[in-house]
């Protein structure tokens, strides 16, 4: 394993420190406990958004702290959810008196730590939205349920815009829930990532096989298939999404092709090209697009596809200004 890191145990701290130094106009890094907030607070009375999760998914979440998106992000160790004291400190730091929406990816670790944090942060009104967009995971009442993956960015952006336009906590929460319920994702890995303090690849993948339905923590996927071309893989990822969303002709969507960290952006556009065609062939209009490595898994090679069902309100909230280190318009 070769990485541009010093002591693996300090990798997250050093990286977040560098991130803060590079974007002092946008973010402030707090240590002990570690969390990142907006450099300039939102106006009083604005609902604040807090998200977080294990490190290793950069720019998620700290890259999305800033105007029109997150008020705070809480990074844990690599692929390990942050601890309740971190999350509680972030919640308390950014509350503007209008309450806090916690955006939580549906993993046992994230759910439990955020749950405990909310108990700790008494005095602040907190509501929670769970993101569980990964169609690779069977959903059932009796399991941990679907994972939250790349769809998280869309929830954070759109809920952030709702907060920025002045919606109250119930309103922002309702918008976030609407995005969460209308977004689905599925991913593929060509090569596994290596967690710094582990030192070997997260899963073993032969040279002629790829892993379909992977998560973003180096978990193996649902099944393996022989390596295939981009068009074939794209269809394998998109079909379950379309089916699960029950997308119909005439609907409008946002199409998000996400790189897993080690994938050249040129390949993402090859995937985008095919996914867009497949959607259009079904009469679905791709109204908005996002292509880039936004929810990563260290240097994993692969990609995920995310589709969000759009309506006029969600579209205008997507278009609303955003100014963060990783997303800006």
């Amino acid at each position: 394993m070769k990485k541009l890191l010093n002591d693996p145990a300090k990798a997250v701290d050093e990286s977040v420190e560098g991130f803060g130094l590079a974007h002092p106009d946008l973010v402030t890094v707090h240590t002990d406990p570690l969390f990142v907030t907006r450099a300039t607070k939102a106006p009083p009375g604005t609902v604040a958004l807090v998200s977080g999760g294990g490190a290793g998914h950069e720019p998620l979440h700290a890259g999305f702290v800033g105007e029109g998106m997150l008020d705070a992000a809480v990074p844990g160790a690599v692929f390990t959810s942050p601890t309740p004291d971190q999350v509680a400190a972030a919640i308390e730091a950014v509350d503007n008196g209008a309450g806090v929406l916690a955006i939580v990816k549906n993993y046992t670790g994230d759910v439990l730590n955020f749950e405990t944090a909310v108990e700790l942060a008494d005095g602040v009104e907190v509501s929670t939205v769970l993101v569980h967009d990964d169609v690779a995971v069977e959903d059932s009442l009796y399991t941990a349920g679907r994972r939250g993956v790349a769809g998280t960015v869309l929830v954070e952006k759109i809920a952030g815009a709702a907060a920025a336009r002045g919606d109250d906590l119930a309103g922002v929460t309702a918008i976030a829930e609407r995005v969460s319920s209308g977004v689905r994702s599925m991913g593929v890995a060509l090569y596994a990532p290596t967690v710094p303090h582990v030192g070997r690849p997260s899963f073993d993948l032969p040279d002629d096989e790829i892993e379909i339905g992977i998560g973003i923590h180096g978990e193996p996927g649902r099944h393996r298939i022989p390596a295939a071309d981009a068009d074939t893989i794209t269809e394998a990822l998109l079909t379950p999404i379309i089916e699960d969303l029950r997308l119909e002709s005439g609907e409008r969507v946002l199409l998000f092709v996400n790189g897993m960290g080690g994938t050249p952006s040129s390949e993402l556009y090859v995937v985008y090209r095919r996914a867009r065609r497949l959607l259009e062939d079904r009469g679905v209009t791709v109204d908005r697009s996002l292509v880039g490595s936004y929810v990563t898994s260290l240097e994993m090679q692969g990609a995920s596809l995310t589709v969000l069902r759009l309506d006029d309100e969600l579209t205008s909230l997507w278009d609303a200004p955003v100014h963060t280190p990783a997303l800006r318009w």
Partner: protein
């Protein structure tokens, strides 16, 4: 020997030793069906715990367990952080006494299990640490009812946990990260069940001393 503050501190130190030693083993188990961080998570946590209890002025067993609880909670993260944190917290609540008899040991273990299930909402058979804790509590209860000493209760709990952990191999996970693998999770030992065995083994060893 008696299960007092000294025992509790020894338990903590032996736990930290044992987790550090098993770090790679736990990592590898978690790599198979999870995300490969269970060893690092617990090692980070128990290393912090070791420092925290160093020179700690504790009046009773519960004082020690409370420090373990809050330290794990604020250093481990992941699923196991709040689960073990809550386990030690509930255990601490029922052990605010200088020395544990057999029934207090049972209460400690019951509290821990209750903490884990109330936080994680997993039941026996879902391939989690509950599958180790639950038979551990059953065995401890049976031993205490049969008149075992505190140390013997811990030995019984350990034996129960070991058997329970082994049982996770054949299970399909329905809670925790391994559940994403569905059928592919079968055939692997649950990392949290394994770390449970290590912690109870440290408790029993501390009582042997």
């Amino acid at each position: 020997m008696s299960l007092d503050v000294e025992w509790a501190l020894r338990w903590v130190r032996l736990s930290a030793d044992s987790i550090a030693e098993a770090r790679d083993e736990l990592t590898e188990l978690d790599r198979q069906i999870g995300d490969g961080d269970h060893g690092a998570n617990l090692d980070r946590g128990f290393a912090a715990v070791r420092t925290k209890v160093d020179g700690l002025e504790a009046e009773n067993v519960g004082d020690v367990l409370k420090v373990v609880a809050t330290t794990l909670m604020s250093t481990v993260g992941g699923a196991s952080g709040p689960l073990y944190g809550t386990a030690y917290l509930r255990a601490a609540k029922v052990t605010g006494i200088p020395e544990l008899n057999a029934h207090a040991v049972v209460a400690l273990l019951e509290g821990a299990l209750e903490g884990i299930t109330s936080r994680g909402r997993a039941e026996v058979g879902e391939k989690t640490m509950v599958d180790a804790w639950s038979p551990a509590v059953d065995a401890a209860e049976a031993a205490a009812a049969a008149g075992a000493s505190p140390a013997e209760v811990l030995e019984a709990a350990l034996a129960g946990a070991e058997e329970g952990a082994r049982s996770t191999v054949d299970l399909v996970a329905t809670k925790g990260r391994a559940s994403y693998l569905g059928e592919r999770s079968r055939g692997h030992l649950d990392p949290g069940a394994r770390s449970t065995v290590l912690l109870l083994a440290a408790a029993a060893e501390a009582a042997r001393g």
